[in-house]
Subunit: 354 residues, 2 copies
């Protein structure tokens, strides 16, 4: 039976990417060796790193004012590294709290400066994106989490400010075009739209750096990795290579604008069914619904049918659709590589469920 | 032509490991999905993590007083994390400087306490392991680099002290049995004897932890990862899985004692030829020669033949044998997965070279 991978992350990757990824484990770039056993200083891997950095810039429309790094440690490490590198003691950075990951980013940043939380949707179990708050013009940066994997919410427009935005895009990077001018830094764990677990994409505007006075251990200093083009120490060779394969696939699909259309169409299929079907209801505010993580629960009066629907999903090859414990119910993660065919199968199961 | 992988790291992995690693990229554990796209919370990956931790302990003979972690960031991150977690401001830790990586460990540790460098072989381009220095009994720990990849030296016995040893074993982990009682912490980047680049093995004795007063960002605190068994955030799923495959292979080979015998036999083949052949000479002090990285140069009067020997190697499928620029000449890295057959081919080329 064909499996439909709705995991929230690590998550579905395109089939052709997986084929090439398996091939490279056997033999890479005509070297007669596996990619798992080649030097990160080999010219073959140097070419991978260079293409991965260039393609990231090309896909996202980043100018030469941005540096692109492939690091490790996940977005969880960027929670503190961003503040450590960008915010001096005594300076203020602003954060918006849209759920678990924002909350963690706020906690870690507090080691390094004054953290002002401008708004939070905690009052409503993070089921909406706060709006209408004031952003102090003297803030060093404004930190946002563009897509909230657990709660199924996503920013569909950015707050109006001249303060540079530092954005955790772990779960919606490469899913839609961005306005690069608005960002001072963007970071993303690879394991949703970008590749397998094991590398973290960091894009930082050069003028944001070199303005703090604290001592920073070498490996935590973005400038260390910028100077050595992500190869100061041994980078995670294979995860980076699979990210490159995914980016090549993205380009073949027509780039990020085409991906946005694809994701909007998939989102419409699923949300239309959720809204139409009296058995189910969505959990996120309609205007803030995520196109990456579609969260829904059984509708009032049908709560006792949750297990039966889960069973139906399992019997039909739908995997990873259990909602996060903070929200309950179901979460269909519909990253770039998810096909309309798989969405259609889930929608049909919902239609036929009683 | 068959390739013989003498790269210093990332380095040769066993052929059966690479086969299984490629298979898992296509389909993992009967899930109908690639290992690159499954949740790190799936029971299938939880089993991988658990087996990897247990097998590490089994192979190295670590007791229940040790915690085993699979982190990221390389040994380079452990240079500062070890001191950050183990050494309080005002306390003293002792280091021995045996080359580039020790030197970096010393530099990063200085952010966090008093660092006393007891001995260094810098006076002689790190071609020997210093001995006979005094170790202050009140030191919090003694930091050693067990094998020096660049300079081809290796500790063959530990200094006599009751101070717990913190050891960077990146390039000789699993190559020989260790006396676990002597260590407070051991760390190793995976990409030599253990697996592909992308994960870092950290083994720490529980009683070394929780004794510093500084604030530590969550991701840099060993206790964070201990409490969540290396899954506090998304771990590098695939690199960890390939490490487990390598450890299973090690067990099949007879474990670490068998590996030591294998490595000693390979070392004897290569060093005997270096000592016998008037065209070549070794660069490391004989009693400190590494069984992982065999460094040698053209002998006096034959310096002009280096390029020709390199050419001969390339023509015969010997890859990655160029010495590090700090030493020059040649470096044959002969990690666990390197066969005697490949060593024999290199030795024959040396024998026949004129």
């Amino acid at each position: 039976m064909k499996k439909h991978n709705f995991f929230a992350g690590p998550a579905i990757l395109p089939a052709p990417v997986l084929e090439q990824a398996a091939e490279a484990v056997k033999e890479f770039a005509g070297m007669g060796l596996s990619i798992l056993e080649i030097s990160h200083r080999s010219k073959q891997f140097a070419a991978v790193l260079e293409e991965a950095q260039a393609t990231t810039k090309e896909l996202l429309g980043l100018g030469d004012d941005f540096e692109v790094l492939f690091l490790t440690g996940g977005a969880s490490s960027q929670f503190f590294m961003s503040a450590m590198n960008l915010l001096d003691q005594g300076e203020t950075a602003c954060y918006v709290d849209t759920g678990t990951w924002s909350t963690k980013a706020i906690k870690e940043a507090k080691h390094f400066g004054n953290i002002e939380v401008l708004a939070s949707s905690k009052d409503s179990n993070f089921n909406y994106i706060p709006k209408g708050y004031e952003i102090p013009a003297n803030a060093k940066y404004l930190h946002l989490t563009s897509n909230n994997t657990i709660y199924g919410t996503q920013y569909h427009s950015l707050p109006d400010t001249n303060v540079p935005i530092v954005c955790d895009m772990s779960s919606d990077i490469f899913s839609r075009p961005i306005n690069a001018d608005r960002y001072g830094m963007i970071y993303a764990g690879a394991q949703k739209n970008l590749g397998p677990a094991g590398t973290t994409l960091v894009m930082v505007r050069k003028d944001m750096l070199g303005k703090v006075n604290r001592e920073i251990p070498t490996m935590l200093d973005y400038n260390t990795h910028i100077k050595k083009a992500s190869a100061f120490n041994t980078p995670p060779v294979y995860p980076i290579y699979v990210c490159l394969l995914t980016m090549r696939w993205l380009k073949e699909q027509g780039g990020i604008a085409a991906m946005q259309k694809h994701n909007e169409e998939k989102g419409a299929m699923l949300y239309n069914e959720i809204d139409r079907n009296p058995m189910f209801k969505g959990t996120a505010a309609k205007e803030d619904r995520s196109l990456m993580n579609v969260t829904f629960v059984m509708n009032d009066g049908h709560e006792d049918k949750a297990d039966a629907f889960m069973q139906t999903c399992q019997e039909n090859g739908i995997m990873g659709i259990k909602g996060h414990r903070s929200v309950g119910g179901f979460r269909a993660s519909t990253y770039n590589a998810m096909s309309k065919e798989s969405i259609g199968i889930l929608v049909d199961l919902m239609k036929n469920f009683s």
